[in-house]
């Protein structure tokens, strides 16, 4: 059926784009939920990761999987340095100063990438195994999109397990809910934050690399997609993992459909919808209201 086929390809295309959104944004959600830190530089870490991954494949000849690992580890390491030296000074500062600081950081990243790599857009060359079409039995679709969905689902399951079933996850949830109480119970919130910040930035790097195939990579990346990352986080709810996952799927599919059927100005609906949603449920779609 033609109509049925359309729905399936829209869903697959939208969900695979949503997976990239999710992988990039999940770290932002958790760190903002934990510390209430308005980190506008999160997109810059995603961009940095994307560049590390693509360049280590092109210049060093690494395979796709090793490059992803290199990107994750190096950006996580860099982010720890930033977190300990700079971010940690502003945890108790105004949101204004946090916004200013992270915007400044974004500019520094953009300029640094322009100087080191150049202003041109670079893209990811997929390994042969991920190119072409994949036979799903009932339909064929781009292998890479299927791969992204599999990776995204694996990550959300893994994160959900880590979040809900491990000691570290319980500590994070406790701190998101009530930071003071968590501190008085002896949870080392600073250390917790460093760990989640590093992990979140590493995930952003992973997302930057995985998404480079269709988003492209240029120095403006850090600002260009920032609004989308923030929308996903605020729609999904600060400090959630599963909420951000569903929000990413929602925004991904919506964006895909709108760009397909209303190429001019279709994205307006996403912004309008976000405004409406934030007004009706400021805590996000998938998070329970504060008691």
């Amino acid at each position: 059926v033609l109509f049925g086929f359309d729905v399936i390809s829209i869903l697959l295309g939208g969900i695979s784009a949503g997976m990239v959104l999710f992988i990039v944004s999940v770290g932002l959600s958790v760190t903002m939920g934990l510390m209430g830190f308005v980190n506008l530089a999160h997109g810059a870490f995603a961009m940095l990761g994307g560049y590390v991954i693509v360049l280590s494949m092109d210049e060093l000849g690494l395979g796709f999987a090793p490059a992803l690992i290199v990107g994750f580890v190096s950006v996580a390491a860099v982010s720890v340095v930033f977190e300990r030296l700079l971010y940690s000074r502003l945890y108790r500062a105004d949101e204004l100063d946090q916004v200013l600081f992270t915007i400044g950081l974004v500019f520094v990243f953009i300029a640094a990438i322009t100087i080191v790599v150049g202003p041109e857009t670079i893209t990811l060359t997929l390994p042969p195994a991920l190119r072409g079409q994949f036979d799903l039995g009932f339909t064929e679709y781009r292998t890479y999109s299927i791969f992204l969905i599999v990776v995204g689902v694996a990550i959300v399951v893994g994160l959900w397990f880590g979040f809900e079933r491990t000691r570290l996850g319980a500590q994070i949830r406790a701190t998101v809910d009530n930071r003071r109480m968590a501190e008085s119970l002896g949870i080392n919130v600073d250390r917790l934050f460093t760990i989640t910040f590093a992990f979140g930035s590493g995930m952003a790097a992973l997302g930057g690399g995985l998404g480079a195939e269709f988003l492209g990579l240029d120095p403006q990346y850090a600002l260009k997609y920032l609004v989308y990352f923030l929308i996903v986080v605020s729609v999904g709810g600060l400090g959630t993992v599963v909420g951000v996952f569903w929000a990413s799927v929602l925004i991904g599919v919506l964006d895909f459909v709108l760009k397909l059927y209303i190429p001019k100005g279709g994205t307006m609906f996403i912004f309008a919808l976000t405004i409406l949603l934030l007004l009706l449920r400021p805590q996000g779609l998938f998070r329970k209201a504060e008691r």
């Binding site: 307006m268 912004f271 405004i275 007004l279």
Partner: protein, 338 residues
């Protein structure tokens, strides 16, 4: 009424409060400097007009962000609304008299500010930041979509602005007319903002910024104060946008972009927010640096700007004027001690 003995009139705090609206000896300085600039650098008047517009825009943001503490990243929404009001009216031959179209620009921006403020200002912090950002992007998309009227990305070029007061030719070739005109507009807006800030109303805005719960507790109509302040700020931003459109004789999508919103944010913070003259210092410093450095070394400029922002956020949270005030205070303390 008998005077309460708690705060004697001669007390230092009482004196600060009752005398702070008085004109300080140095306050005419910016205007004298501007007029001196007019005579000293006749070839740079176009650039001078740009600086004046930037100062006016930063001043409008100061009212919302600096005084009332409304965290907004979407102030370009009002700048753009004002610019497009002037642009659309002039381009389609409906109205092109400069002064009245500037007032219209302010009015349109005020309506948008009131409409969005009444809804958005129920929220705070990150949610508010997101909402202002989304509102601005929504307007930008709308301007992009209305291709037939707004010219989308290319904008509306060659706006025919009528002669000022029916006498003085008004277009980028007559930079001296534009500079004086912009200076007068800035002066009128500044006097208005200064009066507002030193009024009891302005005092209550500062109170809301410092401790919103306490202001609720003392019975201040917090939300209305925020909405009216946001509306006034939007109107001033709209006038700045209209002025920009008139001076350049064109409008395009950059008037509504995140880039512009971030720039004005940076200008204000650089100069010092919550201070009347922060917009002036920040506007001049930023625009001069941008004008001379950004053209020659665009990347190094961005790197330097980023580093400056990081340093300000970490160490100098009250901007250039804040540093100046702190140094002055230290000097005074030393004089008292010795």
């Amino acid at each position: 009424m008998t005077a309460l003995p708690v705060t004697p009139a001669g007390h230092a705090a009482a004196r600060t409060l009752t005398e702070r609206h008085r004109l300080r000896w140095w306050e005419p300085a910016p205007w004298i400097l501007a007029i001196a600039f007019y005579f000293a650098y006749p070839t740079y008047l176009g650039f001078g007009t740009e600086v004046l517009v930037a100062i006016l825009f930063a001043l409008s943001l100061d009212l919302a962000l600096g005084y009332a503490g409304i965290l907004t990243l979407g102030h370009a929404a009002f700048f753009g609304a004002g610019a497009y009001t002037v642009g659309l009216l002039a381009f389609h031959g409906i109205w092109n008299e400069p002064i009245s179209s500037l007032l219209l620009a302010g009015a349109v921006a005020a309506v948008i500010g009131f409409g969005s403020g009444i809804v958005l200002l129920r929220t705070q912090g990150l949610t508010l930041l997101m909402l202002t950002l989304c509102t601005m992007t929504l307007l930008e998309e709308a301007a992009n979509l209305g291709h037939e009227y707004t010219g989308s990305f290319d904008g509306l070029p060659g706006l025919p602005i009528a002669p000022l007061l029916g006498k003085f030719e008004f277009n980028p070739l007559f930079a001296n007319t534009q500079f004086i005109y912009a200076l007068v507009v800035l002066f009128v807006c500044f006097v208005f903002v200064r009066t507002l800030v030193y009024s009891p109303y302005g005092q209550s805005l500062t109170g809301i910024r410092e401790n919103i719960l306490r202001m609720h507790a003392v019975g201040s109509p917090v939300r209305w104060r925020l909405v009216t302040c946001y509306t006034i700020s939007a109107a001033v931003a709209g006038i700045a946008g209209g002025l920009w459109a008139q001076a350049n004789a064109y409008v395009n999508l950059t008037t509504l972009s995140l880039d512009r919103a971030a720039t004005v944010f940076i200008i204000l913070i650089l100069g010092g927010h919550g201070r009347l003259y922060g917009a002036f210092v920040g506007g001049v410093v930023y625009m001069v640096l941008a004008h001379f450095l950004a053209r020659i070394y665009p990347t190094a400029w961005q790197l330097g700007l980023g580093l400056v922002l990081v340093v300000i956020a970490l160490f100098a949270q009250r901007g250039i004027l804040g540093i100046g005030a702190a140094l002055l205070q230290r000097l005074r303390d030393r004089r008292v001690a010795s």
